[in-house]
Symmetry: C2
Subunit: 398 residues, 2 copies
């Protein structure tokens, strides 16, 4: 393994476990800040390995590979939340500074632990319960009302590991796995199906010194369980709700000891009695997050730069938006593998578009990139970003 | 030599000859656009080689090394203007698409050729003449008025190869080299010492299809012949002069066949009779240029992204500024080699600052980075950018 090349002047090496698009998008900010990245990549052609010189291939579940990788880094962070606890523990035992820490990551890796902890500290959550058998599932549904949202406590993402169920029969296969090692060892997480107005996300960076910075609350739009569009800031958001939601995000970050960039996905709800706007927390993500991609172009400090600053305990940058609105649209793979001609077309159609692609082969429905546009007219920006994403996906042809 | 790794989907490889900071600053935009870079670097630790996976070491004057490098690239461009004509010719003979072309580059490499060509096409220049002996130098000075600016036609940059002279004696050593191979083979370039109001720069991108985009005209501030500060756009610039200067830049780009990003350094002068603002062209640079670094943070499309789009004949992005003012200050090396503590300090002092460092060892007076700040209050922005640059250089200590 070639050692990562450190920049002269006392600059550190940041290790990232996982070579996906989140690691890849750290490359530009790291180069500008004279920080060296080293990525433990899944394959030589992983998204991040294409653009970062130090990208040894290794398995994030292999303790020896991870320890050898970390030995060359001053601090280690993550492209994803899937590093197993025993590997995290081995890193801590070796004295490797990990951000976020295993204690914090636990709450992103285990949704039951997350619900318990958030409930303890008084953060608004949907009604929830742990169920280990069909009788408990039925009792929760009968009490809260069907349908119910069932989740595997571990291992889910982008809508995977989530079902909307009408009876215990719909999770019979999951209940069989309760008590066995794996995503369902401790049971199934059941949640009230929230009658929400829209989905919001709070994005925060927190450093080991407890400096924190919050971007404006954004609206996220999901299609089939996958985020497809983000509006930054969330349009027409009640200022009181924005303040309360941001405060909740900051509180969670501090209580859970999160370091680095941290996203709280929320539902915006209406109080049935008063009609007042409120939030309940849906999910946590302890890493740069799709809901923050807009900030690369739309804020003074983008989330990838901020994450690097946070994990190194450098002073945080201003999260201030640069323009009244930024719209981000995810680009999903379509049927046609040659993206380059489509990319020329969207660049020609819209010179103000910011295109971000992840170096991934096209597969239908796979997140392969995103686009952003910034300006003053939200409806126009949504049309422009949506058009570009649809055109790249092959959903439209002109 | 490992081949550069191409992104799936039909995306090209852009080769850059030279591994300095200009190549380095292409890394972020290339990653976002899914373009692969390959850099022919001076050394394994060259600025760009630190951040770009494909960075074979080779000499830009070695035909074999350059041809082997170019064979792996779809298009080749430059970090600097120092590739010798016979090497450029060898690339052209092999059918390598070069941007800018050798014919265009000639006018950036040879200041006598540039003055002749600009004069032919009617672009405003200082009074100038070629001198091959002391008598010709004396005659020019006596006619135009002393002092006179003397330049080596080739090989100068950042104030090197430029003298302000009071008599032919001041270039006696240069005159001895006239007629011998080298920077002074064809003589000394003599120019009127322009009584200028300030210095301006026009930055343009032009594609092989003749699409062109111009950023707003900027003011550049030089200290000891080195650019230290750029104000974008040039404050209080006469709109007629802005239009005329931009038109001149676009005309030069087209007449000289320049492709890629192109900078025209100008003097702003006053017509002695009418007092009207006018320009005369000082220098040309056929590559991304220090006067355009502000655009990385301050414009919708930064110059490095635009350069990549231009050399690939992709549609150009919008050069629109994001905020009323952006100030760029160059960071020069000071006496203290450890930059990291100073960098922490300036980040803490100013969360709105954008810091760009080039991975270069500190040497007194060496350009090692730049900072930008954007906003509405020009005087405040100049103070902030200047403070950060001075602090990093060790000129001030608080």
């Amino acid at each position: 393994m070639t050692s990562p090349q450190r920049a002269p002047g006392g600059f550190p090496v940041v290790g990232i476990i996982g070579g996906g698009q989140l690691a890849r998008m750290c490359a530009g900010p790291a180069a500008e800040l004279s920080l060296t990245l080293s990525v433990l990549a899944e394959a030589p052609d992983a998204a991040a390995a294409q653009v970062i010189p130090s990208a040894p291939v290794g398995d994030h579940t292999d303790i020896d590979a991870v320890l050898a990788f970390a030995a060359e880094c001053d601090v280690v962070t993550f492209d994803h939340e899937h590093v197993p606890p025993h590997v995290l523990d081995a890193l801590v035992a070796k004295g490797v500074p990990l951000h976020p820490s295993p204690d914090a990551l636990h709450f992103a890796q285990d949704k039951l632990a997350m619900r318990e902890r958030l409930t303890t500290i008084g953060v608004a959550c949907p009604s929830w319960e742990r169920a280990v058998d069909a009788a408990e599932v039925a009792a929760f549904g009968d009490r809260i009302g069907w349908p119910v949202v069932a989740k595997t406590p571990r291992g889910g993402y982008d809508g995977k590991g989530v079902r909307v169920i009408d009876s215990a029969d719909d999770v019979a296969d999951w209940l069989e796995q309760v008590g066995r090692p794996g995503a369902l060892a401790d049971g199934v997480l059941l949640e009230e199906k929230v009658d929400f107005v829209r989905e919001l996300a709070v994005l925060i960076a927190r450093s080991p010194s407890n400096q924190a910075a919050a971007w404006p609350v954004v609206e996220t739009v999901q299609t089939d369980g996958i985020c497809t569009e983000v509006l930054a800031p969330a349009p027409d958001l009640d200022p009181d709700l924005a303040a309360v939601a941001t405060a909740a995000g900051l509180r969670i970050a501090e209580e859970l000891g999160v370091t680095g960039v941290f996203a709280v996905e929320m539902f915006e709800v209406r109080d049935p009695a008063t009609g007042a706007a409120a939030y309940v927390v849906n999910e946590l993500a302890m890493r740069p997050h799709n809901s923050g991609h807009w900030s690369m172009d739309g804020a003074v400090t983008g989330q990838f730069e901020q994450h690097l600053r946070a994990v190194l305990d450098l002073p945080l940058g201003a999260p201030t938006p640069r323009e009244p609105h930024t719209v981000m649209a995810n680009v999903l793979g379509g049927d046609y593998p040659e993206l380059y001609p489509a990319y020329r077309h969207i660049m020609a159609r819209d010179p103000g578009l910011k295109v971000h692609l992840y170096g991934k082969a096209v597969r239908p429905g796979r997140k392969i990139g995103h686009v952003t546009v910034s300006g003053g007219d939200l409806a126009e920006l949504r049309e422009r970003a949506g058009h570009a994403a649809d055109y790249l996906a092959g959903v439209i042809t002109e």
